[in-house]
């Protein structure tokens, strides 16, 4: 099964589990309509970027957080927020792929590989600008998306500055909390609008980030990424933060130009930490569940979301 096909199966499973099939169909239609109306100069690149294979975890988080607080159909403002969060998520993917020099994502060429860096960078700016247009007069959403963009920018710089350093699990938690954590935090706020589920969203993002790290070490293709770039670039993942407690592993991890043997040693050391990493993720999962039970009117959609996210490291 190809990466994209496997990811597609996962998407269907998650959507079914959460019961948002109609909303997701609407979202896909809106994305397709938006691409069709884009400037012809950009259209091909944007169609490539938004082609199927996405997991739509972030829109699902918005829908689930809304449903956890307010019953009934998903209103138009929440649907638009879900559309724009998928826009902004794609912007972060485009930038990540350029920075990581990733040739493929979800089994297809990355945008900069296919169309060049200039087009990829300009497309990301185009997406952000049109995202704000989509939000219209929704001032709360505008403020939340602005917070998101700023935090993602800071997190990316922080993650890059702190690479190849002997840091700990708490440092990983801080970086992941600002990176993926901020994205899901904002999703939660966009969904429930009372900010009551902000902390839940942060924990869900942390869980997602950790599962992604562990899944990469397991060689999981379901999450759409490989872990090779992170190992090569000395990025502090959850298994890495546990493994580099060993000074010998830490010394290799901090090397500016690791050899292939070094990378193989690191990969083995990271794999050896998987049980402890899984145990750590179990604790984050429990924290997220406790938040859902405490602050949601109906925690069931959130608990389902946590369960689905937690499974991502086990594939």
């Amino acid at each position: 099964m190809t990466d994209a096909a496997e990811a597609g199966t996962d998407v269907a499973g998650v959507i079914d589990a959460l019961g948002f099939a109609d909303e997701m169909a609407q979202l896909r239609t809106r994305i397709a309509d938006w691409v069709a109306r884009c400037d012809p100069e950009m259209r091909e690149a944007l169609a490539w970027q938004f082609a199927s294979g996405a997991k739509y975890f972030r829109p699902l988080t918005i829908f689930a957080c809304h449903r956890a607080v307010i019953p009934g159909p998903i209103p138009a403002t929440v649907m638009t927020a879900a559309l724009v969060v998928e826009f902004f998520h794609n912007v972060s993917l485009i930038i990540d792929d350029i920075v990581d020099r990733s040739p493929t994502r979800r089994g297809r060429a990355t945008l900069h590989t296919r169309f060049g860096e200039l087009t990829a960078l300009m497309a990301s700016g185009y997406i952000v600008a049109d995202g704000y247009v989509q939000l219209g007069g929704d001032l709360q959403a505008i403020a939340l998306f602005s917070e998101l963009l700023k935090r993602l920018g800071v997190a990316e710089c922080m993650q890059w500055r702190l690479r190849r350093q002997m840091l700990g699990v708490e440092d990983w938690r801080r970086i992941a909390g600002e990176d993926t954590g901020s994205m899901f935090e904002i999703c939660a706020c966009l969904g429930d609008r009372s900010l009551r589920l902000r902390r839940f969203g942060g924990l869900l993002g942390l869980l997602y980030h950790g599962c992604d790290d562990v899944g990469d070490v397991r060689g999981a293709a379901a999450l759409g990424g490989g872990g090779e770039e992170d190992v090569r670039d000395g990025i502090l993942t959850l298994p890495a933060s546990l493994a580099i407690r060993d000074p010998a592993i830490g010394a290799i991890f901090c090397k500016p130009d690791p050899t292939d043997d070094d990378l193989a040693t690191l990969a083995r050391a990271f794999a050896a930490q998987l049980p402890e990493a899984e145990a750590y993720l179990d604790r984050i999962e429990e924290e997220a569940r406790a938040e859902a039970r405490l602050f949601a009117v109906d925690p069931q959609p959130l608990l389902a979301l946590v369960s689905q996210t937690r499974q991502l490291s086990r594939r």
Binding site: V69, G168, R199, L294, F295, V297
Partner: protein, 210 residues
């Protein structure tokens, strides 16, 4: 102004003040909490057998707060007394005593729950904390760098969890008091709305969690 509490509006007998009853209960609750805090600080001092405190000393800080509590308590008692008059007047409109009792219960349960959570966190990290204390007491550091790094992670996690617990309990208390506030609003709406009113002036936006 000779009485800083005079502006709270409880000194007009015969006129109802919807907030007075709740203010009285909360003022009493804060007073009780501060008194308990002061007692706890005195107990800590006795147990520790300490003399004069330095500004950096946590026990000294608690003692300062206890002193502030002692000063504040008479004022709070006056406030509570005046508010009781308003509460009696307000009872003519609607009986809010269950909501006030509920607010007191929520606050007390929050304090107990917070203490239990802190104890749980300390219990979970006890091994690491004890190890660090013993090593420091013996003037040595752990020989194994890996163990040292694991210990550092554990201690940092302990500090974060203590902070997280405080933040979470504060949010939980806020959430639960909001729910009590919602129930007060409902009581007032029902007591003061015209019999055939089709809509309330301040409809609740969110469902209240059971």
């Amino acid at each position: 102004m000779s009485d800083p509490g005079g502006g709270l509006g409880a000194d007009r007998p015969g006129q109802s003040d919807p907030a007075a009853g709740l203010v009285a209960a909360l003022a009493s609750l804060v007073g009780q909490g501060l008194a308990a805090w002061g007692t706890a600080a005195e107990t800590l001092f006795s147990a520790a057998g300490r003399g004069p405190q330095t500004p950096q000393d946590p026990l000294g800080t608690i003692a300062d707060m206890a002193a502030v509590a002692g000063t504040a308590l008479p004022g709070l008692a006056r406030l509570a007394g005046r508010a009781e008059e308003g509460q009696a007047a307000f009872a003519q409109v609607a009986d809010l005593s269950p909501a006030i009792a509920q607010a007191c219960m929520v606050a007390a349960a929050s304090a107990l729950r917070y203490g239990r959570t802190i104890a749980e966190i300390m219990g979970r990290h006890q091994a690491g904390l004890l190890q660090a204390a013993m090593e420091r007491g013996a003037g040595e550091t752990a020989a194994d760098p890996s163990a040292q790094r694991a210990l550092a992670d554990d201690l940092r996690a302990y500090l974060r969890e203590i902070g997280d617990a405080a933040a979470q309990e504060a949010r939980r208390l806020q959430h639960e008091l909001e729910m009590v506030g919602e129930s007060i609003a409902v009581v007032i709406d029902e007591a003061t709305s015209p019999p055939h009113a089709s809509s309330r002036p301040h409809p609740r936006r969110h469902q209240v969690k059971e």
